[in-house]
Symmetry: C2
Subunit: 200 residues, 2 copies
């Protein structure tokens, strides 16, 4: 996702909207310099266990090499509510996979309160499989579930959660994912520049 | 560089120090969420032409593929003041290279007002060679030169400038550099998670 002051933010909450302030420009200075204020869950971002688990690991807990690795983009654009275990059991999901779900969310340009999410049954299934990461094209990987069950099923197993992807122009298949979070110490999340590289 | 509230900032200026505020934690909420305020030139970061050139390109002007590419780390730890053209002419620097300079700066844990920098003669030489990017282990690529000559020689040729590297544990040689800036629209710089991958 592009980061700017009019971008989509979770539930349209104003306090989650980034602010970019020009500190110096050429009208009064010899250089241009800006300062940003943003929620660490702005746009495309990675959640660490601390986001939902008290005393959970921060971003440092994830192995660096899992942010640059093979991934599988799975087309779930036929779904209209959520991704469930039943949608996954016939797919070839393996230990150490990084799975990205492409849904109808990628085609929304405003915040959709009924966004497609990963439900608890699917999250538990992926955790059992031993994947290293899961991404989705929503600002949240779950929607209105009691007790944040999807986050907790994944984060309790140290599975990387990558939210806020834009997959509208991406076809189902295998890619190299590069999604390194900023190296911010001791935090529960970070904005992340995420790209896919096609295999030759 | 790790980003935190006690990190090194340019010339120790307090207004350049990042602030991380806890918005929600488990004492009053069911999740942990933080907000960061930071100069876009915080820690390891990429400068775009607009930083020093009025109406210059923003980050969008750089081809995405140049942020993930082969790079050459050159050991300049023997130098005590600056990197000049004379230090470069016997090196194998080619068109489209991404060059990273390792200097004594990587071993400083406080801001050093006499940091090693790339002087104008070296910047012009690299620009003539047609490199795509240059990185250094200082928060600025130049120091106290009139009119920001090093930045302008490089940025006027759309050469990526990567500042604030930490290369103390990196040996001279060739690597794959991965240094994607955040996708912030229409800005002159971005904090960047930069890593090197050894060739097998």
């Amino acid at each position: 996702m592009s980061i700017n002051e009019s971008m989509i933010v979770y539930k349209n909450k104003e306090e989650k909207r980034p602010k970019i302030r020009t500190q110096s420009d050429f009208s009064t200075s010899d250089h241009f310099e800006s300062i940003i204020t943003m929620d660490l869950h702005t746009g495309t971002h990675i959640d660490a266990p601390l986001h939902m688990i008290e005393n959970g690991n921060t971003l440092e807990g994830y192995p660096l090499e899992n942010f640059i690795q093979n991934c599988k983009v799975i087309d779930m654009t036929h779904l209209t509510n959520s991704i469930t275990k039943d949608d996954l059991i016939n797919l070839n999901i393996q230990k150490n996979d990084f799975i990205l779900f492409k849904t109808q969310n990628s085609f929304h340009n405003e915040f959709n309160f009924n966004f497609i999410y990963l439900d608890q049954s699917a999250a538990s299934y992926l955790a059992e499989k031993g994947i290293v990461g899961v991404g989705i094209d929503a600002l949240g990987i779950e929607r209105n579930q009691p007790n944040h069950e999807t986050h907790k099923s994944l984060l309790s197993k140290e599975i990387i959660i990558l939210e806020g992807l834009r997959l509208g122009e991406v076809s189902e298949g295998e890619y190299t994912l590069c999604a390194l979070p900023l190296k911010i110490d001791q935090v529960e999340a970070s904005p992340t520049r995420a790209i896919l590289i096609s295999h030759l």
